[in-house]
């Protein structure tokens, strides 16, 4: 059952993504991207990442895409009729390179990352207070506490400093966006 839902969502995500990059007008393009993001949110739920799924809908499908649509509206795009999609050899080469990229990434998938993870985090042991769990325990750990608490523990313990730095990054981005969009500097 889970796998049927996964494949339905995966096909919907891929089709929406293809439609997103082939639409002439940027507004349908943005709406197909929203559809892709909703499908990905469903897949996150299937992967037991309910908090990330909620963030995906709120931040990506909500805030970021509204920003995109707002800028499209502000610039009054998509009315001039001309298509900006490159045709002929460029599209063929792009498709070929994309297929080669899929093949390369799928080939990389076969390599083991278990040893790599152990080398990157030598001190992490299963059941440690940092909230990092061993392989296969994510579902049980998430149901043992709750979906948000399981993510919050590593975020506010192991990754506390990066978390604080992102707040500085967001402040810098907000100030930078206002300065860039001002009519006169």
């Amino acid at each position: 059952m889970t796998e049927i839902v996964f494949y339905v969502l995966a096909i919907s995500a891929v089709l929406s993504a293809i439609l997103c990059i082939t639409q002439k007008n940027p507004v349908p393009s943005a709406l197909w991207l929203v559809s892709t993001m909703f499908a990905l949110a469903g897949i996150y739920v299937l992967l037991h990442a309910q908090f990330i799924a909620a963030m995906q809908v709120l931040v990506y499908a909500g805030a970021v895409m509204v920003l995109f649509l707002f800028v499209i509206m502000l610039l009054n795009l998509g009315r001039d009729g001309g298509s900006d999609i490159k045709k002929g050899p460029v599209a063929l080469v792009a498709t070929f390179l994309g297929a080669a990229l899929v093949a390369a990434l799928v080939a990389v998938r076969g390599t083991s990352v278990a040893g790599l993870a152990d080398r990157l985090n030598p001190g992490v042991v299963a059941g440690s207070p940092l909230g990092v769990v061993a392989g296969g325990d994510v579902q049980s750990a998430a149901s043992f506490t709750n979906a948000i608490g399981a993510v919050a523990a590593p975020m506010f313990q192991t990754y506390l400093v990066p978390f604080e730095i992102t707040s500085v990054l967001l402040l810098a981005a907000a100030v930078g966006a206002v300065v860039l969009a001002k009519r006169k500097l």
């Binding site: 796998e3 995966a10 995500a13 891929v14 993504a17 293809i18 997103c20 990059i21 940027p26 393009s29 991207l33 892709t36 993001m37 897949i43 996150y44 992967l47 037991h48 990442a49 990330i52 963030m55 995906q56 990506y60 970021v64 920003l67 995109f68 800028v71 499209i72 502000l74 795009l77 900006d84 490159k86 460029v90 080469v93 792009a94 390179l97 994309g98 990229l101 990434l105 799928v106 998938r109 990352v113 909230g131 990092v132 061993a134 392989g135 994510v138 993510v151 590593p154 975020m155 990754y159 978390f163 992102t166 990054l169 967001l170 981005a173 930078g176 966006a177 206002v178 860039l180 009519r183």
Partner: protein, 98 residues
């Protein structure tokens, strides 16, 4: 187990984003393709977090923050370019082309 199919889906979505960046000239659609690539990477982070712990989900949170900041600054730059050239088509933005 959905780990393998999720990684394949992530690779396909990333490649679609790359193809979009190569075949489009509209700067806003280009930005959307970059968001698509970030989403694909997020999917592989979440898929691997089912096997390697919650660190992957925390990384997705950080990627979302950076993507939001990037979208805000990038769209402000596009606004400034539009005010300068009255267009967001990349063929009109070729100052660095020799």
């Amino acid at each position: 187990m959905l780990l393998g199919p999720s990684l394949v889906l992530s690779a396909i979505l990333f490649a679609i984003g790359v193809i979009g960046v190569m075949i489009r000239r509209n700067a806003i659609v280009l930005f959307m393709c970059v968001e698509l690539m970030l989403n694909a990477v997020n999917l592989s982070f979440v898929a691997l977090s089912t096997a390697h712990g919650f660190g992957g989900q925390v990384m997705v949170f950080f990627v979302m923050t950076v993507a939001a900041a990037e979208a805000a600054v990038g769209l402000a730059i596009i606004l400034a370019i539009f005010r300068h050239t009255r267009s967001v088509d990349l063929k009109n933005i070729n100052l660095l082309q020799g």
